[in-house]
Point group: C2
Chain length 250, copies 2
């Protein structure tokens, strides 16, 4: 905050702020929502919609309109007051901020149930995430093409990842193998990991990990059911009995 003079005065200088500054300041939660807005906007563009207001877009994205505008303000001021946003302009700016102007090559490790589903999934390439490498230890799988790509042996992971410039590694191995696979990905230079194995991965600071943990998702849902059932019980009965008289038991 050193450059601009004037204190809290209105930003009458629209071109001044640098994108890099902004990108650094975007809250993680907002980044996740930007990705959702992008998808909604792409859908609108496909249907020929060219302009959209914050109200419309926020409803389609399932968020509060004020939050949406705040989120968009993190990436710049690309709307027109009194009118709304140009869909294509917004799409291109969100893509730029999210780093989607270039492709990010993806490697899937562990071609079992889940790995097959991921490798066969057609939704990634179109969004800039081509799956370019598959790995497994199972000898029967090596060389077999899945979703058009032959499975490589896990021992070749470094060479293959470097060669195909893999930037995102997806871990779909059984839990015991996950940390070891992660370590190998990291030493192959992969800095982004999406982990499906229910394990807490240890990684160096320069590596970004996101986990998808279905059991945790279900348990969160379970918590809400329990809380709701419990509230109902406390209103109607007031003791430890469930709604339909069923005692909650281990």
């Amino acid at each position: 905050m050193a450059s601009q003079r004037g204190e809290g005065e209105t930003t009458a200088t629209p071109l001044e702020p640098a994108d890099r500054e902004r990108a650094r300041a975007i809250p993680e939660a907002a980044v996740a929502r930007l990705a959702v807005y992008l998808r909604v906007l792409s859908g609108m563009a496909d249907q020929g919609v060219t302009a959209v207001s914050s109200e419309e877009l926020s409803q389609a994205a399932g968020v509060n309109a004020a939050k949406l505008r705040k989120d968009l303000s993190y990436i710049g001021s690309y709307g027109t007051r009194g009118v709304g946003y140009d869909v294509e302009v917004l799409v291109s700016h969100i893509e730029r901020i999210l780093g989607l102007t270039r492709n990010h090559s993806v490697a899937v490790v562990g071609i079992g149930n889940l790995g097959h589903a991921l490798a066969n999934y057609g939704g990634f390439p179109g969004r800039g995430f081509p799956v370019t490498a598959l790995f497994d230890v199972d000898a029967d799988l090596i060389g077999v093409p899945v979703g058009g790509i032959p499975v490589s042996h896990i021992d070749d992971i470094t060479a293959v990842c470097l060669e195909r410039e893999v930037s995102i590694g997806v871990i779909a191995t059984p839990p015991p193998a996950a940390q070891s696979v992660c370590d190998r990905l990291v030493s192959a230079g992969v800095q982004c990991i999406l982990n499906f194995a229910p394990v807490v991965l240890q990684v160096p600071d320069n590596v970004e990990v996101r986990k998808v943990d279905l059991a945790v998702e279900m348990q969160i849902l379970s918590f809400h059911v329990a809380r709701r059932a419990d509230e109902a019980a406390s209103v109607s009965v007031g003791n430890g009995l469930g709604v339909d008289g069923m005692v909650i038991r281990p």
Copy 2:
């Protein structure tokens, strides 16, 4: 505070009024972490570990020790100062708070790539989430057993869900079908939905939805790569030029 020696103990009991208050106040973020602690603790229990300190547990769960203690304090005071926590006691109390003292029957809708993986996955039943119903529209799939359960037709969803007391519905259909499937689940009385389709679902207030959106996860990773690459560029090049030629100030 309210914890007395000798009362309750390790047996999971129905929520008492004090716990009910607590459950209502637990932050969502803490609930998600409790589920992780539970998994780590279960693993420890399986390996014969009987006691654990907040420091150990927090490292295994990949969080700050203070945060872990705060999270545990939301469910009560079950530790022993100077010693730590009894693994089994903690497990049973977390399970109770998360509503895992009873099974939650799961239905999967859309038995394609992903639906097959989910239906075949062995990790859910053991954690209290038995998959008891599968649905699809594809005539070729109806009646075919996947993971031991025959696929039902989507039109039978209400009857089957009621009969098997489904409490969690998993949507793994193509995006265009998701909202319609969701509506059907809701009218079948399902109050918890886990959605894999990249669509924003509209549901009544009494229904809880969680989404798993892989494209969004990857885009968040992409954002971090871009941010990092950008920082690196500004350090190594140091010419103060941004991505689009804008001047970046130090």
